[in-house]
């Protein structure tokens, strides 16, 4: 490294303002996700113009909520260099126990209290994850594989295995409550449910935490290098507990929305969809090794997966192909990000 390199640096920084797509993609890998998303939408619309109907778009929006909440939690943990696979079990645990509790003991609980209880329940389970990750000094993947089994095992052994088909009425009502409604061309009533709002709000809150608070910077610092971050004075214990607690809160919320939206509580639900969510986050440009990614990218990744899941049928591709397509996209996007990074 010679002096001339630093001088070059000084000179080049003034030039690099000019726009370059490659540079943009390297800085904001979610551009690729957006481009893929737009490409798919254009292709699908060309084959089947029915895709652009409001009802399809609203279906996509509705289908994104649970996955989006999960994905925000996964993303924030990934940003700090960890990984979580227990969030589905946390969601299943909170949603089912809470439904049982409300149904059998507190039938009059208002929905707001139920939502808050779901958030608190999820936070509690998440904090257990965080404490284990910090104190056992074991990679979070191992810890959360363990707690996924633990939470789910506890749920099925002690709380119940019965599929609840008739929800407490206030939960069902929340699932149906419209944000807005209109009549589509063929006369059917299309509803964007109220709970859809929760996703953008959660995304905003997550964005705000990550970009406007010291905790947010600490999360990325830990994701960059945990040892160095701790040497610089970041308290790893606080960060881990916050991270997993926050992801747990989002999971609890997602779980209860899942119940309300589907109007049934199945204790066997959700667990098994982790990989789908992690795939969405990675497609959104977050590196699996941590320290990078954006909230917007995460949402785009979720949209991409949801769109693939819901539109393949519209263009006449069997739904069994869905995984194939998602798999190809992940490999393509990964290969693309990696080569971009090497080129610098």
């Amino acid at each position: 490294m010679s002096a001339s390199r630093i001088e070059e640096l000084q000179e080049s920084t003034s030039e690099t303002r000019s726009f370059s797509l490659g540079d943009l993609i390297r800085r904001r890998p979610e551009t690729i996700t957006l481009m893929l998303l737009v490409a798919i939408c254009v292709i699908v619309t060309a084959i089947n113009p029915g895709f652009l109907q409001p009802s399809t778009l609203i279906d996509i929006g509705r289908a994104s909520v649970v996955m989006g909440l999960f994905a925000l939690g996964v993303f924030i943990i990934l940003a700090a260099g960890g990984i979580d696979v227990s969030f589905t079990a946390i969601a299943a645990f909170t949603m089912y126990s809470l439904t049982v509790l409300v149904l059998n003991h507190f039938p009059a609980t208002p929905i707001v209290v139920i939502l808050v209880a779901a958030i608190l329940g999820g936070t509690l389970l998440g904090v257990i994850n965080g404490l284990l990750v910090y104190h056992l000094k074991v990679p979070s993947l191992i810890v959360t594989i363990g707690t996924q089994y633990l939470f789910r095992g506890f749920l099925l052994s002690f709380i119940g295995t019965v599929w609840i088909m008739s929800l407490p009425p206030q939960m069902g009502a929340f699932g149906r409550m419209p944000l807005f409604q209109f009549e589509s061309a063929n006369g059917a009533v299309v509803t964007l449910p109220f709970y859809f709002l929760i996703l953008p709000i959660a995304a905003l809150v997550t964005w705000w935490i990550l970009n406007r608070t010291l905790m947010g910077r600490a999360i990325f610092a830990v994701g960059g290098n945990a040892n160095i971050a701790s040497r610089l004075g970041y308290n790893l214990r606080t960060v881990q507990i916050f991270l997993f607690g926050y992801a747990g809160a989002l999971a609890g919320l997602a779980g209860i929305i899942h119940v309300c939206a589907n109007r049934q509580a199945n204790p066997f639900d959700l667990v098994g969809t982790e990989i789908n969510v992690i795939a969405a986050v990675v497609l959104g440009g977050a590196r699996i090794t941590g320290g990078t990614g954006t909230v917007l990218g995460t949402l785009l990744g979720v949209l991409l997966i949801v769109v693939i899941n819901s539109v393949l049928v519209m263009v006449g591709i069997p739904s069994t192909w869905q995984r194939l397509v998602v798999g190809i996209f992940i490999l393509l996007a990964a290969a693309f990000f990696v080569t971009r990074q090497r080129k610098k």
Binding site: M1, A3, L9, T13, R212
Partner: protein, 517 residues
Amino acid sequence: MLARATSEQGLGRFLELRNIQKWFGGVHALRGIDLTLQLGEAYHLLGENGCGKSTVIKIMSGALEPSAGEIVLDGRTFTALTPIQSLAAGIETVYQDLSLLPNLTVAENVALNEQLVGANGRLARLFDRSRLRQTAERALVTVGLPTDRTFLNTTVSDLPLAARQLVAIARAIATRAKLVIMDEPTTSLTRREVDNLIRVVERLRSENVAVLFVTHKLDECYRIGGHAIVFRDGQCVAQGPIENYSKKQLAELMTGRVIDSERYRTGKPMAAELLNVSRLMAAGVEEVSFGVRQGEILGITGLADSGRNELAMAIAGVEPAGSGTITLEGRDVSIRRPADAIANGIGYVPEDRLAEGLFLDKSIFENEIALIITKLSNALGVVDKEEGRTIAARLSEEMRLNTKDLDLPVGALSGGNQQRVLIGRWLSIAPKLLVLHGPTVGVDVGSKDTIYRAIQSLAEAGMGLIIVSDDLPELLQNADRILVMNNGRVVAEFDAEQATEDQLYRAMLTSKMETVQ
């Protein structure tokens, strides 16, 4: 021998260590350190690798707890500091590994800590972007880095190493520091950047900030001036104004034995030509031709961008050459990858031994036999461990490793010993030619001595050696001939016995202007 620092009762007394002890398991790393640091002074903490320097720094910065003793900081007594306490009191450390967060921006790396310390480590606080930028700009100007928005928002992993080193220094001075500790801050800086750093240090001292250097580069210590603190085996063996000690005295204090800085090279090259490189072209290397005889030690130097690194890597197959011929013992050889070089008997000890050379979490034994693992295994792929151990023990003996425990992970060894393991590994395949790239970077005086002696005995045995290095005394002491590279070409050749450092420097720098003209 024990000279105390002057004016012990100064008002500027900032940090005092009293009888600090540190045990790591059964190892007594610090055996009662007493040290007083005053504001506005410069200190040079000197000693061999493994003497306890890093441990003391980590205790000051709160990364380690002492086993016994007390720390008096700004009049308050502690048994141990936390990182936040230490930072809040104004102790900033530039670690050897720079401790930058690669995924964050320059501005964040420089100035985020100010806010973290301001919040006393609590994270439930808003993060002030405009203050971040102001603090970062102020600090970057001081170390001579750009301050425009693009640079501030550059991710640190995209910066060259020298710029990263300056960013790390900028972070240390971004806050109102009272003591700045710099652990080998100049390893990747050029002369001009070092000059700039020295100005920064002078400025800090005039602002009544104490600066503690940890370094192996004695010349820089003399230029900066101040107090020398010499450690040996976890004890402080000397303290006092650095100008009271000669280089030789300091080296002896550090090692506890007499080190002569005479020429190591005693042997003579043989007549037979071993290697001939003709019109070699590679990225950054323009038509380089030279030869190495058996038993000869050839030094190659130049500025970092002169092509010397690329030349070494081309011969070793790490970054293969574009064109030109390499002849070994009269036979043309094609070297497209490291395996080709190894097959032809060319060994390469890379500059960055941690990243490129060693398996840090594997044992000495496993590292030493890494190249001969196929030879040691039978038809079923089972490795003959007994044979391997015998060989590893012999290599460690030859390289004078300071431990007999071959199961120790290499990561636990000092830099000098790691380098010896790496060279020892190459000896296992008895190469005809060994290319050593910066063989003593980050290695202390005592280890240098051992490595130089080993290099000489390899040459005695008929091996050809190429040392690529910017440590000029190293080349002058060890080589037969020295080639100076510039702008990808060999611009001068010196007889190492006659040449002086000054001549080499001039060839490195002035010929650059000639080639430009």
